[in-house]
Symmetry: C2
Subunit: 212 residues, 2 copies
Amino acid sequence: MKLPCPIVGPKPYHHGDLRRALLEAASRVLERDGPNALSLRAVAREAGVSPAAPYHHFKDKSELMLAISEEGFDQLYDFMRQSADPDAPPMERVAAIGVAYVEFAKAHPSIYRVMYDRSRDLEALPDKAHKAEDGAFSLLKKAMIDRGVVSSDQEVDLELACIAAWCAAHGLAEMVGFRQFDSLKAKMGGEKAFLAGVLSHLGMFGQARNRG
Amino acid sequence: MKLPCPIVGPKPYHHGDLRRALLEAASRVLERDGPNALSLRAVAREAGVSPAAPYHHFKDKSELMLAISEEGFDQLYDFMRQSADPDAPPMERVAAIGVAYVEFAKAHPSIYRVMYDRSRDLEALPDKAHKAEDGAFSLLKKAMIDRGVVSSDQEVDLELACIAAWCAAHGLAEMVGFRQFDSLKAKMGGEKAFLAGVLSHLGMFGQARNRG
DNA sequence: GCCAAATCTAAGCGTTGTCAAGATGAACTT
DNA sequence: AAGTTCATCTTGACAACGCTTAGATTTGGC
């Protein structure tokens, strides 16, 4: 019984494309049962294959997780790009990128967990996400250049500004859901206002900083 | 064979104080074998008891991890406090707190991992770390007040500034070790300069922002 | 049509978190 | 001082996990 899968990549043997199917199964498990339930066996079960089948497409569990993580970074980049209107003023564009980053993490918390669990294990972001010419990092870099944040040492300072922005967005993305902030969110009239308020305090995102 | 443990709390029965011993064993395992090796059984093994013994002191694994996490936040606070000279200018004090935060995470990466793995699972920081009158968060708050960052809506804006700072420090702490930044660190002449550079871009830490 | 390679299954190893049942020994009662 | 109580710890077991090996099955190339 061969599954009809006309858009086959380099691995259209028995199953059709088990590698692709596993990644989609993983995504389903992640959305349904959360990141703690994402075991290699659970993914295989969800895809309808034996627990050992994934080992023909991924060296071990951590390589599967890495692939899931990389897909997540791709999706994150897509969302950031489509949120950053290239015709908008650079200031707004940078802010839009920051908001998009945090909103993605909030909309897909399980994926985001896996993305950074892997990155912390490997002590690096996926090269695809960071180095790629059309990756998320270079999107931010271009917006930063347009905004003109550089000072004396342009090359280094630009890089630093982007890294600082990424770190700030990541920290906020991981902590924005913490219950300690609930009362403040309520006091501000919603999480959206809270988010904008915090971002306004983070240098590179904040045109709102001198509004008070 | 009773262990001599004169400073007994409410549980000085067979072992002496297994709860304390387990936390110390966990700390040893963490430093020696890293966060991925921190299993309930490994901790019990390190403490020299059976795998089921911890269940008389912790409801389940996640409660053990939470206790470890809370101890970590205590240590973090101690380090932040002793790094923030109360007689220093408020500006420097805030910056010192930020540097201390990141340096703690860098010095004890395994503990820091457990601290935030638990927090993410529970979607909250330990109440002890956040609410306590003498906790790390209120230390930051006081320094922020002295520095005078508040704008129109003082109460809310102060809270936002502290949250933003915490998020930024956390993001930086988790990402500062990523290998993608190695070349930039080298170009800047060391990780210390890199760290200061990034912090200077993060609004609430940066008196260096207008130095360029 | 056949062979070699690729793919998947079956079975099993060692480990993990967790639980129920029993052994142990300190503390309280009388 | 003996016996009871009860928190503490051990033993043994279970299901689920990551991973490995051996074998069955299908595919593509000759």
